[in-house]
Symmetry: C2
């Protein structure tokens, strides 16, 4: 019987292994500067931080530690967003309270110090994010720990910080919106049949077909993001081959990273609910 | 900085991910009844047992627990032999003593109770092994915990048990022979260049080209084992494509599992010695 921490690490591994996941590193594809093995090292490296998240210490500290451990390989950022999504889910699971309400309780319990730790996590690794609105420029996450005074002055909890970017970031939207898509996708995984790697691929495509990926919108523009959604639908409808789309998106640098994060979160919930590997 | 336990889990993951490893499950190939994801779950499942191995409790108990955790997926045995090889290596690393001599000290310290736990590990999972010589039929590992009285009566430590099969089992030979091949292969990994997955593939081929795989000899016969060695050499010499050989061996059920175990052990030693991912 795997612990919540083991299931979190396994979810990270199963997410990256699932194939095809068009545009992402997966079992069959690397990015030019980011390889599959680096995801394996990242997931294993995140372990001690995830262990803290399942325990009682501050959530932000556990997250920061998970990110620092994840970044201890040569590829840079592998699964930052997935860890951010997992943080409240693992906290809830550690308390035997893994449900949308339980995860939301973990969100609501976050403090200003958790926000400070969250920003500090950006000191460990480069994460592709867009510019914030001018009025909150002092809260640009890329400032990392330099944003500490602004966070303290404004008295923002980590939940408050997530609410600020929920419109433009699909992971933050989950934090704010009761993890609706994560739990729904977990039920797809549980209701599906066949090998878990294939289920992960299908859930990724369904999530992408349902909603524009905010990471693609940020890094490749809105029209690329809309195209990604449209073409994921075409794969699900049998009008296009997933393998071909995967090759094309990797080549064009269209990387639905937020959809991958949601897939990892859904895998975690599904594993906790009895998904067999 | 990853702990010895993290490096052990990562070594298991990098071993199965390395491709091509002709005849084995790898990043690009499944076996009909054993899938890549099940290796991921197996490696994560082994964690608590590996954690004990790095600590102070009985080595046999840690090994048994690692095997029970590994077996907690639907594929059955994924990396039993690799865990057996890792056990004394992780124990030595946990004591800051990871060297051939340090690992041999861990071997020499094993007791009859460690042997009993080792046999009990076979209760958790089916492992393909051959018939023992008639005079030690009561020590057939497939008896699992039923062999306990025979072990106690004969007063055999786990080191003694390994010595009994060192002739026919390449992992037992490492236990008995100071882990010579494991440490040598670790130096190959460290001296090599390029992505770790590619290095793992090359070290697998070199090990296989150097010595007949005892698992192939056991499961497919001596002539298949000799062919595997000859053809691994041909791949290294550029006379045959590794990918083609991988397809062919999976199809023919030629599975150099002992060579994979040695590769996992070598990856662990190399990671502990600074191999970057």
């Amino acid at each position: 019987m795997r612990s919540a921490v083991q299931n979190a690490v396994l979810a990270l591994l199963l997410e990256v292994a699932g194939t095809p996941k068009p545009g992402n590193v997966d079992r069959h594809r690397d990015h030019p500067d980011l390889r599959f093995e680096q995801f394996l090292a990242g997931a294993v490296g995140a372990w001690p931080g995830l262990d803290r998240l399942a325990g009682d210490g501050p959530l932000g500290e556990g997250f920061e530690r998970a990110v620092a451990g994840m970044a201890d390989q040569r590829g840079g950022n592998t699964q930052f967003g997935a860890l951010l999504l997992l943080a409240p889910l693992v906290r809830a699971a550690g308390r035997g309270d893994l449900s949308p309400a339980g995860a939301s309780r973990a969100v609501e319990a976050t403090t200003v110090e958790d926000a400070v730790s969250f920003y500090r996590a950006f000191d460990h690794v480069d994460v592709a994010v867009g510019d914030p609105p001018e009025e909150i420029d002092d809260l640009d996450v890329r400032r990392g720990s330099d944003a500490t005074p602004a966070l303290r002055e404004r008295g923002l909890s980590l939940a408050d910080v997530m609410a600020l970017s929920a419109e433009v970031d699909g992971v933050a939207a989950e934090w704010v919106g009761g993890f609706e898509r994560t739990f729904e996708a977990a039920s797809w995984l549980l209701d599906d049949e066949g090998a878990v790697g294939d289920r992960a691929s299908r859930v990724f495509l369904r999530l992408l077909a349902d909603e524009v990926d905010t990471f693609v919108a940020e890094t490749a523009g809105r029209s690329a993001a809309e195209e990604a959604t449209r073409r994921a639908r075409a794969v699900l409808d049998g009008e296009e081959r997933g393998e071909d789309l995967a090759e094309e998106f990797v080549e064009r640098g269209i990387n639905p990273g937020t959809t991958a994060d949601l897939t990892a979160g859904a895998l975690f919930v599904a594993l906790e609910r009895g998904l067999e590997v």
